[in-house]
Symmetry: D3
Subunit: 189 residues, 6 copies
Amino acid sequence: MTASPISRFPVPDIATLADDIRDRIVAIQDKIGFVPNVFLSLAHRPDELRAFMAYHDALMERDSGLTKAEREMIVVATSNANSCQYCVVAHGAILRIRARNPLLADQIAINYRKADISSRQKAMLAFALQVSQDSQSIDDEDFRSLRDHAFSDEDIWDIGAIAALFALSNRMANLTSMRPNDEFYTMGR
Amino acid sequence: MTASPISRFPVPDIATLADDIRDRIVAIQDKIGFVPNVFLSLAHRPDELRAFMAYHDALMERDSGLTKAEREMIVVATSNANSCQYCVVAHGAILRIRARNPLLADQIAINYRKADISSRQKAMLAFALQVSQDSQSIDDEDFRSLRDHAFSDEDIWDIGAIAALFALSNRMANLTSMRPNDEFYTMGR
Amino acid sequence: MTASPISRFPVPDIATLADDIRDRIVAIQDKIGFVPNVFLSLAHRPDELRAFMAYHDALMERDSGLTKAEREMIVVATSNANSCQYCVVAHGAILRIRARNPLLADQIAINYRKADISSRQKAMLAFALQVSQDSQSIDDEDFRSLRDHAFSDEDIWDIGAIAALFALSNRMANLTSMRPNDEFYTMGR
Amino acid sequence: MTASPISRFPVPDIATLADDIRDRIVAIQDKIGFVPNVFLSLAHRPDELRAFMAYHDALMERDSGLTKAEREMIVVATSNANSCQYCVVAHGAILRIRARNPLLADQIAINYRKADISSRQKAMLAFALQVSQDSQSIDDEDFRSLRDHAFSDEDIWDIGAIAALFALSNRMANLTSMRPNDEFYTMGR
Amino acid sequence: MTASPISRFPVPDIATLADDIRDRIVAIQDKIGFVPNVFLSLAHRPDELRAFMAYHDALMERDSGLTKAEREMIVVATSNANSCQYCVVAHGAILRIRARNPLLADQIAINYRKADISSRQKAMLAFALQVSQDSQSIDDEDFRSLRDHAFSDEDIWDIGAIAALFALSNRMANLTSMRPNDEFYTMGR
Amino acid sequence: MTASPISRFPVPDIATLADDIRDRIVAIQDKIGFVPNVFLSLAHRPDELRAFMAYHDALMERDSGLTKAEREMIVVATSNANSCQYCVVAHGAILRIRARNPLLADQIAINYRKADISSRQKAMLAFALQVSQDSQSIDDEDFRSLRDHAFSDEDIWDIGAIAALFALSNRMANLTSMRPNDEFYTMGR
């Protein structure tokens, strides 16, 4: 079997990209040694890529009551529920690194109920999956239950908004058949 | 019954907003006579609102093989599948205006198969709903079928990306319990 | 796009209908100014239409602990869950009129949890949707919970029976591809 | 274990029923030796029972391209999909008798694909289950496919309308927790 | 209609079977008067049949806090949820005999909530169906709830393991289109 | 977070196990350097463990038209559909080794449609998932489609039987909350 391509859609040459996008890509490449395929596949539509990166950074880089590892847990759990190969593999790698734990990403992707995490984190992931899979059913009782686990309302927004952003991201990856870079599979193991 | 609030989260005073956001809101208010609640509720997180507006404009305002009315059809059909009150009501109004048709929005929200649209548009909405509800199952056969209906690959990206963006938007509206403005219910009827 | 026909099946001429059915249809026409398509499409089978009207009146016109507006709420909420275009549009109009509220029908059709109704009415609609979508799971606990909201057993029968009747009605409308009259879309707004 | 009662709701004494209902019940009792519990439990609401009987007879007793056994097949298959104990047991008995086949009712209730019936009858039941479980998806292609199996449009109405009527009936039986008479279990075996 | 065959796959002649398998089959035939088709259809793969029989006996014949009738209840309830004709019909017969109750098997197959069983047995079947249909959601709360109904942890293993074994068995019967023997339909009625 | 235990149930000391089970466990330990937790957790019930091992070997070790790697693909794909942490992690390791491919296991677990496998293997996994998740719908058309991909009927049995066996195995792992050994996560990467 030959490996599948990066995307169902045309993938631009990095040299042809606008400066701001190319600069960001090169900065990442300098840091981790390769260009994650999400940038190459979404760069087919530069304005959408810019908006996605802005949304991503606003949520994933902000000061938050959630640790960065916890935010990646949300991405990994909801992305496997949506069968999104790119997001589970790439953010699984990031989670392993952020959490300094080589097991957590696979545990959470498959079934967070059996992962080596706290009961507060399990409540966080249960809500993230509700937002991801059945957001219409959210009601005040869900908020009360999260507050009982010491999540602030800002934390609840973060949980829900990350699940919502990757609802978008998972669908774009499934639409484009985005291929995870081979490097992600072994990072942080 | 008193009306429910605009959002479960704090809603900022327009006067306190950053200039770029306030300018955009005022421009819309000048045009349609009121401030859509989506701006007020999402302005609680200005950076996320900016990213959302940028993503929205990149898809909904771009030159596309899809008409603006067709793009709103996608929003309306997928938003009812996600039981998103704000998006069905607000974008239903926009669809009525864009399509100059007072019936289409309700028809499509409830069951697009019985709407007064072309079979090509039904194929578009069938794919939009697949992206929205079951994106993991997308395969090459789906692309072939859309090309048979004379959709280009760029059109297919547009269909899928709009369904993906409102997968995010629907979840944010369900998370915040975003209330549609009363004005939307009668616009374009 | 030309408008779709009233029904997939033959639609009788009113002049050819039996006296009792024609009289009822004319009485409605005199009252609201047009003949709802449900009568024309179901009149293809007069005995079934008579039985349906009798069942409808027995439930929707009887003295009940539920107001007439509440009974229409049940119709609207369960009909959107079944993607029944005719019932959501026509009974949405009736609900707007009965409740003297132009917003309620759309709110309830899309997501009753966010509608401007009481928590008792939300409990009523939660049970109606259970009867509509998952009646096998009904147990004594559900009855206790409704009694805690001050519903009598007769009220519970009414909720369940209306949900059951429109389970039939929604399926007949989807089978016949019954078209809502244009007039319904704007009534009571 | 003592046997569960006939209904969650009050069951009237036959002697107290209106003449038309009592006459019908007595006629059935004279014919089969016992009173089916559906009459006793629904007689709590005489007008609804009259409407139900009228609807039932209009569909199940009319001249039709479907045999009476085929109509019972539809009832049995859709009622098990709705986990309706009364309808599967009572109409299973009727199906055994109508079809003069002691095996067919259980075969069809559990999985019609493996029942000793024709491929035309399997197509009939596949459509009945679509009407019962997913009526929103019905489209012209489904009609074409049934016509290819030599079903007339009147036959298709019959299939769909019987599935729709028992969508109502199953929900009423689940609401009332209607108990099948012990006699039905062995009839026709 | 001619009856469907015993299996989609070749069915071996009993005379050709290995001694251990033939001996077991003959012993059953001597006891109940016929050879259950499960032996004939699975004997196409003798080693798999031996493993299945060993697994079956280990669970269904062992000393347990569950009666043999209760173990058959689990088989019947979960097998109808999987639309497994062979298992519902054959184990329904065994349940009728084990429980000395001609009604229980049909009641439980269709909807255990309305069967003439204890609330403890209903809790047992609710858990069996969770294992059968949604085992990923099992958590410590489910164990606590069963212990509250006086099930020991060994009993819980038995409930879960029987549901798990028939998850296998139902799939093999659906794969092979295994036909229940006619004799089962009337045993124990 | 401390790591979760191997099982919700008592885990026997290897020294106390019957000779045949201990011998098998020691042989595996000698080969791979550790004792897979599936043996320790299932050894709580020795007879069931023996039956499981016999069933496993009968299917996974037999001469078959399916390669050993293909058989592991079936295990991995169906086990993630059932959210079975143990089976995805342990058999993912085996698949990496059998296929001499470090990427395949994660690709297939998350979404086989995007894995680096042949279209024949995708057809194999589509059928395995049908057996795993919806075995009632299997019909002759599914067999024809697999034969068109050059699968023999014996191959089809193997695909279906492996999916069926791991339907059991996934449920036992979810019931016992079976913990994958840490070693599996990095084997074959």
